[in-house]
């Protein structure tokens, strides 16, 4: 499907990241879902490193 075709139909948007993108869409009555995404361990580097150790082992 070309990009032009995509914009000729109703959009179903899943937004990940900055919530303002989602809010802009919903304010224009575009259906959207905001994904509550966080980096692993909420960005806590020590915990992320420990998780990494588990995941890199078999």
């Amino acid at each position: 499907m070309s990009v032009n075709d995509l914009f000729k139909q109703d959009l179903k948007v899943i937004n990940m990241g900055l919530e303002s993108f989602y809010e802009d869409l919903t304010s224009q009555k575009v259906e959207a879902i905001q994904v509550q995404w966080k980096p692993a361990a909420g960005g806590n580097q020590k915990m992320a490193a420990l998780l990494g150790r588990l995941k890199s082992s078999k």
């Binding site: 966080k38 806590n44 588990l54």
Partner: protein, 419 residues
């Protein structure tokens, strides 16, 4: 990692196959392992007298007066501080206690056996609401009520249970979950089913009709009576899980009013603690957060199993009581599936389209998602004896999980299991 998945599979089999059964009643000193005249068991992780919060201190004072070890609150405080009394968590004695969780030698307890694994769990009889020991009250009427529970309620229930035979608590809880109980803050259905189950056996006891009426009136007036059955049922279910090597599943969460503590299967009996939180809930008129004691009680053993706050969706009748809406309750339960490994094969939640309760909290998932377990709980006044001042939803401190996770990875590393 394959060996972690295998260990967790074993833990989940233990949890899913458990058969907690009420098999009888006894006096704590006769049946609870390690109980003696100078031992006071309490809720949560280990704590010394000098660090105990108001409600726990009050309950200790009441316990010493109840046992006849002290004649006045002043004498009880002196004795408690003297070093002559041993304090130890209920959890170290296969027991659990709501709120302050104080258990002393002469108190009657329910005996719950997990028929699958053969282990036992113990819990006192629930006292009801108002001026009660578990909120730290120790006045003469509290002691008098405890004595009535020991001398009248206990012998009748014990005899009635002997007449009736064992009660399958898994079945009882599974039914009550279909009837709007999450068995932590709503126990009305479970209590009702228990009364229905026991009624004819109570009438068949050798006790007087007058005492039987008092027992029925008390059970009927106490919507939380069955909390002291769902708690040992959860404890009996979870304890064997704590013996599985390398499992990352949490098998204990408990609070003593000062600290919150968790235990993880792979790490055995080791507690990971952090300061207990003040609960942001709905306070009774005239009370606010400034009156609240930090989180207290062993009752979150229900959440550890996956019921209680984890199954809030099934108990819309209490969501306002803990300051939320039915949709909030569904959201809490939905979120708990993110940090658990399976769905219960027995505790099915109607509002979740009969999905099983979220079961098996994995510390790896808590750390990765940063989603903390949800606990719904009563709030005790920080001063001994005032009682319940509200209810709400609370989370354990993340530090418990971070410290436990660090120790878990450290253990695996030490054993040469990590690359």
């Amino acid at each position: 990692m394959q060996f972690i998945e295998e260990a967790n599979k074993k833990v989940l089999e233990i949890i899913q196959n458990a058969q907690p059964t009420l098999v009888g009643m006894g006096i704590a000193k006769d049946v609870v392992p390690g109980m003696h005249k100078h031992l006071i068991m309490h809720a949560g992780p280990p704590i010394t007298w000098d660090r105990m919060s108001g409600p726990l201190r009050g309950a200790v004072i009441g316990g010493l007066i109840y046992e006849g070890l002290a004649d006045s609150p002043e004498e009880a405080e002196e004795l408690a501080a003297s070093g002559k009394i041993e304090f130890d968590p209920c959890h170290h004695h296969q027991s659990v206690g709501p709120m302050a969780g104080v258990v002393t030698a002469s108190m009657p307890v329910f005996i719950v056996e997990n028929k699958t694994e053969g282990n036992f769990a113990y819990c006192t009889q629930n006292e009801g609401l108002g001026q009660v020991l578990r909120f730290g009250a120790y006045g003469p009427q509290v002691i008098e009520h405890l004595k009535w529970m020991e001398k009248t309620l206990y012998p009748i229930l014990k005899e009635a249970l002997e007449i009736h035979g064992p009660i399958d608590l898994k079945n009882l809880i599974a039914q009550s979950i279909q009837m709007g109980d999450e068995v932590h803050n709503r126990n009305k259905a479970t209590t009702s089913l228990f009364i229905r189950e026991m009624a004819s056996s109570i009438v068949k006891t050798k006790s007087s009709k007058e005492d039987q009426i008092k027992v029925f009136d008390f059970l009927n007036s106490n919507d939380h009576f069955a909390l002291n059955l769902s708690m040992p049922a959860s404890k009996a279910t979870m304890d064997p899980a704590g013996k599985v090597k390398h499992s990352s599943v949490v098998y204990t969460m408990a609070r003593n009013g000062t600290d919150f503590g968790i235990r993880v299967a792979a790490l055995g009996d080791r507690w990971f603690t952090a300061p207990a939180e003040i609960i942001d809930g709905l306070y009774f008129p005239g009370y606010g957060m400034e009156d609240a004691n930090p989180d207290i009680g062993d009752s979150c053993i229900t959440e550890t199993l996956g019921i209680g706050g984890f199954s809030m969706a099934t108990a819309p009748a209490i969501v306002q009581f803990v300051g939320g809406t039915p949709q909030d309750a569904v959201n809490y339960t939905t979120q708990m599936y993110e940090i658990t490994l399976e769905e219960s094969n027995s505790y099915k939640l109607p509002p979740m389209n009969f999905r099983g309760a979220p079961t098996g909290i994995d510390i790896r998932l808590v750390i990765e998602t940063q989603i903390l377990p949800v606990i719904n709980t009563g709030i005790a006044h920080k001063k001994a004896g005032i009682g319940q001042v509200g209810a709400g939803v609370v989370n354990p401190p993340m530090k418990c999980f971070e410290d436990a996770f660090e120790a878990y990875v450290g253990l695996l590393d030490q054993e040469g299991l990590l690359e």
